[in-house]
Symmetry: C2
Subunit: 338 residues, 2 copies
């Protein structure tokens, strides 16, 4: 089969389309014929060596959709789906038994250390395959998993967003933040978004953002956001100064969900944190319950993932470099060869 | 009446016992004949000018217990208590309607800007007087309000402590942390405490702490705490480096409640925050519901506040200087003159 492999650390240009052995489903596994995959920042970080526990060579990719090609021994106890069914894969492997937090030692994410979805076939636990939502194409379905899961947990499970509340989404444009925007709007919330790009802000507006703020031309964006609020919830993956400003921006009793730290360490003042009864909630990925609930949002076909562009499998380096440039709005999808 | 007044910023030695006019209860108010009061760090901060919105001269004091001397017009609609009843005062004035967070604009704390409990009489809203728990002396009751309320909300309302969990209480010795230790133990939790003083650690041990760590002789106390854990909940009023270490110390899914920041700003790493799904919960004071639930813990008389020492009203400067020195274990109580 053809697979996109990383043989050596060195950045996106090291991703290489090559022949790889067809994997075999083990006990409880499903073999999925992948039709479409999608990029996450994680794939770029791994190619750059910026990820814990890298083992090479490896087929990357956390997001994928396709159809079940075979089921391993005992797999039918873990899924009601059958060979030929169109599926989307939950990339969170072995979350553990506690919906509140993953099993930090036993769990992993598809695509490292387990071979991922940038290949014609991938083996995953049968419990991780879900029926593709009817209203979505296979490419749309492939765009959802990791970012949709992370956004769902951030907005609902951790953030407890309620209809009528206002949510501030910092640095919109990436996969998770774009899903967060769509999910928040669907939940009946008002949305305020920031970006350093007017183009991304315009796109966010077209997705329903009601206030857009360019943090490059407006250093005091947090004050403008607070004035446009009241901001009940912030969804942030920046950390650093952004998190400090978010504490200033939220209402008393406000929540701030953090799922990344691209701006580095945050220096936060204690007084506004405790005086305003602010809650800061760390999150990463999501539980099986989160994944199922997230997929259900797409069931009626009215909600669609934002897709920046679909690349051919042979253009994987260009796709990865687009991801690395952070100029996309929405997901970068990879069409997998027939 | 005699009252301890602050006429000028300058530290504890500026507290002055003098004659002041007897206050009159207004609409909905109760006039309380104070029998005992207690210090909080807040009183010292105010005397040093380290508090927002100071208006002088003022009678300080948030904590007090005594008996109802008179009720203002309409006050009996707000309380079932009557003149002569022994009471303890909830120092949180006008919390607001939302139990999740105070009304940051409308609320205040007894003792600034409203005249406080370091006086023979104090006027408070009748809704803020509660029957003294039967098993406590009037001096014990006076030791409870602000610190007990803050600790209750930190441990239970915000921290959601459950039986069998382990809680780490940093910098034990002050009023809130000592109540937190007692409340956690009563709730069936294991307790780990830190202090820079072996004497305070020994005292904490006598109150039921099962692991004690001296952070002065053990800079990596957070690793020792983690090894002694698993730590489900941290109660901290230090901020700064302590908060950063607390994130390292807690289990995945752990909670950290912060109600102060004596160590200043905290520089925190994003990765452990989101990867471990940690929750940081700011808190300050507590709602009327918190106060009532906290008082109920003392009803059967088996739980007692830790009292460092009871000072005469004429020794108020010595009492305040003891508070400022941070060498106490438990509350510093002021006996109010007959």
């Amino acid at each position: 089969m053809r697979a996109v492999r990383l043989n050596e650390i060195g950045g996106p240009q090291n991703l290489h389309l090559e022949e790889a052995p067809l994997p075999q489903p083990g006990e409880g596994d499903a073999l999925v014929r992948v039709r479409a995959a999608a990029f996450n920042r994680r794939d770029v970080f791994i190619s750059q060596g910026l990820y814990p526990g890298i083992v090479l060579p490896k087929t990357l990719g956390s997001d994928g959709a396709g159809e079940i090609a075979a089921l391993g021994p005992g797999a039918s106890a873990a899924t009601h789906l059958a060979v030929g069914d169109e599926v989307v894969i939950d990339p969170m492997l072995d979350w553990g038994r506690d919906p509140r937090v993953w099993d930090a030692k036993g769990s992993s994410i598809l695509g490292m250390p387990r071979d991922g979805t940038f290949a014609q076939y991938v083996v995953v636990p049968a419990a991780n395959v879900y029926a593709k939502p009817h209203g979505l194409t296979i490419h749309e379905a492939a765009a959802i998993p990791l970012a949709g899961l992370t956004a769902y947990r951030a907005i609902f499970t951790r953030g407890q967003l309620k209809p009528g509340e206002t949510v501030l989404i910092t640095g919109v444009g990436g996969g998770v933040q774009t899903f967060a925007l769509s999910f928040a709007k669907r939940a009946g919330a008002h949305t305020i978004v920031t970006s350093g790009s007017d183009e991304k802000l315009a796109f966010a507006k077209s997705l329903g953002a009601y206030v857009t703020l360019n943090y490059k031309t407006m250093p005091d964006w947090h004050k403008a956001a607070r004035a446009a609020g009241p901001i009940d919830l912030v969804i942030d993956s920046s950390g650093g100064e952004t998190l400090a400003k978010a504490i200033d921006a939220v209402v008393p009793g406000g929540r701030i969900v953090v799922y990344g730290g691209t701006n580095g360490d945050a220096t936060i003042k204690m007084f506004p944190l405790f005086w305003k009864h602010v809650t800061i909630l760390g999150t990463s990925m999501g539980s099986p319950q989160d994944f199922a609930a997230m997929l259900a949002l797409f069931d009626d076909g009215t909600l669609k993932p934002a897709i920046d562009r679909i690349y051919e499998m042979s253009d994987v380096v260009a796709a990865a470099e687009k991801m690395a440039s952070s100029t996309q709005f929405g997901k970068i999808v990879l069409d997998i060869d027939d």
